[in-house]
């Protein structure tokens, strides 16, 4: 990443897994040394340089700002207002085909050529419209109330020299506001000062991107003092910044104080909707208000679709010995597939299961590690866990009550693990880490040890490791390092080949069990060596240009000749039943693609864990992490980079496609494609798209990593349009919204995350595993229901809305052809749906045929039978007698046919069907029994009584429906 302009890499954590430890910012911040840089989202591609237009905000000076006419801070999410409600609401209603159809019919019925009076059409239509409009109005009213509540939330604003409470709506650009702990930011703020030392505050951005871990924001040093109202009143800054835009993670601007220009970064911006944590209060200046805030255009990312984003310390390997007796879901799945029975492992008494820790091995718990072969290395292992991190302890300093605030859950899991092993990290100061160590000197002995942390070499995606240099109380200098196995192994000293070999074996084991692994290593340092290195480090740190690069180089100098301690294995808890669910779905012939913002390794891990990939599959990996591409990137010529990536993607695609075809023809092996976002960007190019499509359709699963929300949508529509397949997108994060909307069916997962995805989706479920239910059970049901309603809807709309509507609805609600458990048991049944089995034209044609057949029966049977006199006095039926008889037959038949179409019958069916028939008779009795005062054709007057006085009527009523249904019955039978 050439550091040009605003191009930057960020972690997109989504689709499930991401941990912030993989998160990186290419631009290192001046964040406090001990804190991890907050993760940032990456947008692949570049952000265009800002347009020259920018806004200038005069802080604490309402008059000056009035000239610029910034918008107010009130927001409105309502769809309608009093004036637009009717036109807009009606427009929405008439976008539905059914309503439009009835409108057309109603219009036609007002013309003189119509045989029916308009009332019969207009009344049902208006009824339907009325109900829908009332519902819309009610929902909008709720939104309005919600808006009002938000708009009138109080916030402290600096007025003169005091804080005064005003409502959010009255907030103006340039105001200085104070936000207290746990409060929400009322607008996008420039962070000026906080009560914390170092001008730092912690914010939670769950409302924006769903990430629940805390992020650190740091004010400019120049403004740290403005935390008290008296001081803040003196603040007269001028903020020059970009115009409002929807990019959540970028911000450019300058703060001009006393003719001194200070650059502003996203690190000083507090976005509306985030909340303040762990900080008594902060002071900030309002820069964007109301709809201009960034809250409105949400796209981002996150977790939770497949995984729970709950990291648990699950296994470890210390000094070549593997510990941990747990069995992961994926292992369970593997065992089950091979047909063996699971041996339920009896958990020992030492087993501990808390948040972040799910580990059991009596050999090292409760100080038992002292009796292991090499207790010293165990000690190093635990100390490494307790010291090498950037976690903040929070709450009471007791093992039970403490909570760890970590940028990523796996860091917290490691620290929690150390705690459970008896190395309890309980306090952090800027220079020291306090650890309460148990059983170190002898069993039962507890002592508080203070380690001086000299340097922190932070984690980032290129380094893939993190180190601390610490000094023991006895003066011993140690560098602890943890990181990905590849990078650690490169930097190990040439000793202890046994441990290395054993640990590598364990790493593979853990990896195939779906666990995320990290290697731990340490290095003893001498004072001399350290001092020399530290000089260079300080130099690098204070350099102004290429600081990141220089820091990385300096780190390389000391992170070598490491001694391997072991490795940890963390389970990224999948949501319950995900592997089973995925397997069921794939048995149902559904192909599953994972589109995630995670880095490739994580994505592959998750895919393994979810059963999407296994070792029997041939993997095609198309990645931009090749030497050639990296070389080009180092040179930094964007045109050249693009060309090289494009060439390599093109080449890879072709090669993979050829191989794929060979594999498919020869061995029938299952294939899987793994592609990263950068390559995808080029692969989606119209020229390469066809190859990508062909290749991916040959693969049973596809994993796209490091993809942006836009790419997710692109891939979805590629499949939708290119392959003409039905697509279903499932996601929980706001970043999945575009993809959900692009797919035929969108499913949102409601959970810890924001509700954006849910709101944009067609269905909402609480966890991924319910997808099985949704698709296989309800999906099938609704499928079969839909096709049934097809017939009846049209049929009844031509005849009558009321007498047959209720049963149809009931069928729509309750019909199921196969019981739920059966559906799940035989996922193959879903293939019927995939093949459009039920909804084919053939079926529609069959229904239409029977409709025709029925109508012929109704017409000819009733008329043919009514030629002669029909009662004992020889009187003849008139037109209306015959038509009423026919209609009675229709109502009875349609309702009975519906009953036949049901695959299951609840008492609601009986109720609604007999109710409908009854309703018809009640109606006709009343309708033909009274004479209305105004001029109307009294056609039906007394007809039903006349009819019912004849035997003929009953005989016909018995005959016609049965004859009509006979055909259907025969067809069913």
């Amino acid at each position: 990443m050439g550091g040009r302009g605003w191009e930057r890499v960020q972690t997109v954590r989504l689709g499930g897994a991401g941990a912030a430890s993989v998160g990186v910012a290419s631009r290192r911040r001046e964040a406090a040394e001990l804190r991890q840089v907050p993760s940032q989202t990456v947008r692949l591609g570049r952000v265009q340089p800002q347009a020259p237009s920018h806004r200038t905000i005069y802080c604490n000076d309402r008059e000056a700002n009035n000239i610029a006419r910034f918008k107010g801070n009130s927001i409105s999410t309502t769809k309608y207002n009093v004036l637009t409600f009717l036109p807009k609401g009606l427009f929405e209603q008439f976008r539905r085909v059914a309503n439009l159809y009835f409108l057309m019919i109603s219009i036609l019925s007002t013309t003189p050529i119509s045989p029916v009076s308009p009332v019969t059409n207009v009344v049902p239509l208006s009824l339907v419209l009325l109900v829908s409009l009332v519902k819309e109005a009610f929902e909008d009213w709720k939104r309005f109330q919600n808006d009002t509540a938000i708009n009138s939330t109080p916030v402290d604003v600096l007025q003169g020299q005091r804080w005064e409470s005003i409502s959010w709506r009255k907030l103006q650009v340039g105001d200085i506001v104070r936000v207290k702990q746990d409060g929400f930011f009322p607008a996008d703020l420039l962070f000026l000062a906080s009560t914390n030392a170092d001008g730092v505050c912690y914010i939670e951005t769950a409302n924006l991107d769903g990430e629940t871990n805390l992020k650190i924001r740091k004010a400019l040093e120049r403004t740290w003092d403005y935390s008290l109202p008296e001081k803040a009143a003196e603040f007269k800054g001028e903020i020059q910044c970009e115009q409002p835009n929807n990019s959540l993670y970028t911000f450019t601007g300058n703060l001009v104080i006393e003719s001194q220009t200070l650059p502003l970064s996203p690190n000083q911006i507090l976005l509306r909707g985030c909340s303040l944590r762990n900080t008594e209060y902060v002071v900030g200046a309002v820069i964007f208000t109301g709809h201009e805030t960034k809250v409105e255009y949400i796209f981002s990312d996150k977790t939770g679709t497949l995984t729970r984003n709950l990291m648990e310390f699950f296994k470890c390997s210390i000094g070549g010995e593997a510990y941990g007796t747990g069995v992961t879901e994926i292992e369970k799945g593997q065992v089950q597939r091979t047909g063996k029975k699971m041996n339920e492992v009896n958990r020992s008494d030492t087993a501990v299961h808390e948040k972040g820790f799910n580990f059991d091995d009596a050999r090292i718990m409760c100080g038992a590690w002292r009796n292991e072969r090499d207790p010293e290395i165990c000690k190093e292992f635990f100390r490494c866990l307790a010291l090498c991190h950037t976690v903040l302890p929070e709450g009471d300093e007791s093992p039970e009550k403490i909570t760890y605030q970590a940028a990523s859950p796996d860091e917290a899991a490691l620290v929690t693990a150390a705690k459970n092993f008896g190395f309890f990290f309980y306090r952090r100061t800027p220079t020291t880490v306090m650890v309460r160590e148990s059983h170190v000197e002898k069993m039962g002995n507890i002592q508080d040890v203070s380690y001086e942390i000299l340097n922190v070499l932070e984690f980032n995606s290129t380094r893939k490791r993190q180190s601390v240099v610490c000094r023991y109380p006895n003066g011993r200098l140690v560098l602890y390092c943890k990181g990905a196995d590849t990078v650690i192994y490169e930097r190990l000293a040439d000793a202890n080949q046994d441990i290395k070999r054993l640990t590598r074996e364990h790493l593979e084991q853990f990896g195939s069990a779906g666990l995320r692994t990290l290697c731990l290593a340490y290095r003893e340092l001498t004072n001399d060596l350290y001092e020399k290195w530290n000089e260079k480090f300080i130099q690098a740190k204070s350099s102004l240009r290429d600081r990141e690069k220089k820091l990385d180089e300096v780190a390389e100098l000391i992170e070598k000749d490491l001694i391997l301690i072991g490795c940890t294995a963390i389970e990224d808890k999948l949501q319950d039943g995900v592997p089973a669910c995925i397997e069921t779905l794939s048995r149902a012939g559904i192909k599953i693609w994972v589109l995630t913002g995670d880095k490739m390794e994580t994505a592959i891990n998750i895919a393994y864990a979810c059963n999407l990939i296994n070792n029997d599959m041939k993997q095609f990996i198309i990645t931009s992490e090749t030497d050639a591409i990296r070389e080009a990137e180092d040179k930094g010529d964007p045109v050249e980079i693009a060309r090289i990536i494009k060439d390599s993607v093109n080449h890879d695609l072709k090669q993979c496609l050829e191989e794929a075809q060979q594999y498919l023809h020869i061995s029938g092996q299952k294939l899987t494609l793994i592609i990263d976002g950068k390559c995808l960007m080029y692969a989606l190019d119209p020229n390469l798209r066809v190859n990508l499509l062909n290749l991916s359709l040959n693969c049973s699963s596809v994993v796209c990593c490091r993809v942006s929300p836009l790419q997710k949508a692109q891939v979805t529509s590629l499949i939708k349009k290119g392959a003409r397949k039905i697509t279903l997108s499932i996601g929980d994060g706001a970043n999945d919204v575009s993809m959900i909307q692009a797919a035929h069916v969108g499913v949102g997962i409601s959970g810890l995350e924001g509700m954006q995805a849910v709101m944009a989706s067609d269905f909402a479920i609480a966890q991924f595993r319910f997808l099985t239910d949704l698709l296989l059970v309800h999906g099938r049901w609704s499928y079969t229901r839909l096709c049934k309603r097809f017939y009846d809807d049209w049929f009844q709309s031509l005849y009558n809305v009321i007498f047959t509507a209720l049963p149809v609805i009931i069928v729509g609600l309750f019909d199921k052809d196969v019981s739920a458990s059966l559906s799940k048991k035989y996922p193959e049944l879903y293939k019927e749906g995939i093949r459009n089995m039920f909804f084919k034209w053939r079926v529609v044609a069959v229904w239409a045929f029977f409709a025709l057949y029925h109508s012929l029966i109704f017409y000819y049977f009733t008329t043919a039978a009514s030629q002669t006199g029909h009662n004992s006095s020889g009187k003849i039926f008139g037109l209306w007698d015959v038509s009423t008889m026919a209609f009675t037959c229709v109502v009875v038949t349609v309702n009975l046919r519906l009953l036949m179409a049901c695959n299951s019958i609840t008492r609601w069916h009986h109720l609604s069907i007999s109710g409908s028939i009854l309703a018809w008779f009640v109606f006709i009795f009343i309708y033909s029994g009274v004479m209305t005062p105004y001029d109307r054709q009294e056609n039906i007057f007394f007809v039903i009584y006349v009819l019912m006085s004849t035997f003929f009527f009953y005989l016909t009523l018995l005959l016609v429906p049965i004859v009509a249904l006979l055909g259907d019955f025969l067809y069913l039978g």
Binding site: H778, F814, K816, Y826, T863, G874, C902, D935, E938, F969
Partner: protein
């Protein structure tokens, strides 16, 4: 019918849903989670066979009864619209019917085939006469028929609403086109008594046609559509009109003319003196005279009986066919995949 008690679809979400709730929301939960107890009508071969058999067994006797009832009816039809036109006018029947100077009297001889038991119903049957044309049907005012001149809003009657600026009672095309052929029956030079009363539905006489409404300004226009009405008889007693106004469903229809209340013996010759007034020639309509006896089901109509018989026969045939197929290729029931596999091709 297998009872499928609450299936276990969304067990996960469900447990929380009703943990806090007693009976009512449990029912609601079942409703929303689609776990209502339901019975599944499963069409096993045996059931299909039994159902068909049952239908057949019920329908065939019913059909037989209907058919027998219909058979017992004696019906005589006589088409007269052509033969009542003198030979010289056969080529121009319309001129004949429009020429009021020519006598329209006509004599027909009807031979009674079988003994006809009183009451014998006399109908006229018109064919190719579309009384169900929607503009024709609408051209009447039910309110005026009931309330007479008091009721002013007779716009529906157009074009027969006013004549010479005065309202017409009864207005509208239906009344205007009143059928006006008349029949007298003579047996052995003695006129048969024919009862012309009580030929309309009681409900019509009592509720739809006013007791105090008298014809007014009727058939006074330049175009005479059909019969005239006695202005001194209230509409509720103008039964020919009432019968005519109950419009027919089909272009071929019968309307009751009267009832002969004496038995007619086989081989008797009946002279019918008819006045052939009604113009069906301009649109090619046919006119027939019908004499028929009655039964409990009404007139002669084989249709119901045949339909019942056919349906019943078909059902029995199908049940036998299915039974044969089933005996030949029995399939185990209860295998869900198989049952489904069978169904997918047939159900929708």
């Amino acid at each position: 019918m297998e009872m499928e008690a609450g299936s276990t679809s969304a067990s996960g979400g469900g447990t929380q849903a009703h943990s806090y709730s007693p009976l009512r929301s449990k029912a609601f939960y079942k409703f929303t989670q689609q776990n209502l107890p339901a019975c599944k009508p499963n069409l096993t071969p045996a059931r299909v066979i039994v159902i068909f058999l049952l239908a057949g067994v019920v329908f065939i006797p019913v059909g037989l009864i209907c058919l027998r009832a219909s058979e017992s009816v004696v019906e005589i039809l006589d088409r007269y619209d052509i033969e009542c036109v003198p030979e010289s006018y056969r080529n121009n029947k319309v001129a004949y019917i429009k020429d009021s100077s020519i006598s329209k009297n006509c004599k027909r001889l009807i031979k009674i085939q079988k003994h006809m038991k009183a009451p014998i119903y006399v109908y006229y049957e018109l064919d190719n006469y579309y009384q169900n044309h929607r503009r024709y049907i609408k051209s009447r005012s039910d309110k005026q028929l009931l309330h007479g001149l008091e009721y002013k809003d007779t716009s529906s009657c157009r074009p027969e609403e006013y004549n010479n600026g005065l309202s017409i009672v009864p207005c509208g095309l239906v009344a205007w086109s009143l059928f006006n052929d008349s029949y007298t029956f003579v047996r052995e030079a003695v006129e048969l008594r024919i009862n012309r009363r009580n030929i309309a539905w009681k409900s019509d006489r009592e509720h739809k046609f006013g007791r105090n409404v008298y014809p007014f300004n009727f058939q006074n226009g330049s175009l005479i559509g059909g019969g005239n009405l006695d202005p001194d008889v209230p509409l509720s007693e103008q039964e020919d009109l009432i019968v005519w106004m109950r419009t027919a469903a089909l272009p071929k229809f019968r309307k009751l003319y009267g009832v002969i209340e004496e038995d007619l013996q086989a081989d008797e010759i009946i002279e019918v003196h008819l006045v052939n007034n009604y113009n069906t020639y301009s649109f090619g309509g046919k006119k027939k005279l019908v004499l028929t006896t009655k039964n409990w089901l009404g007139g002669k109509n084989d249709f119901l009986g045949i339909a019942y018989m056919a349906t019943g026969g078909f059902c029995i045939f199908m049940s036998i066919l299915f039974a044969l197929i089933h005996v030949k290729n029995p399939r185990p029931h209860g295998d869900p995949t198989y049952s489904y596999g069978n169904r997918k091709s047939t159900t929708s």
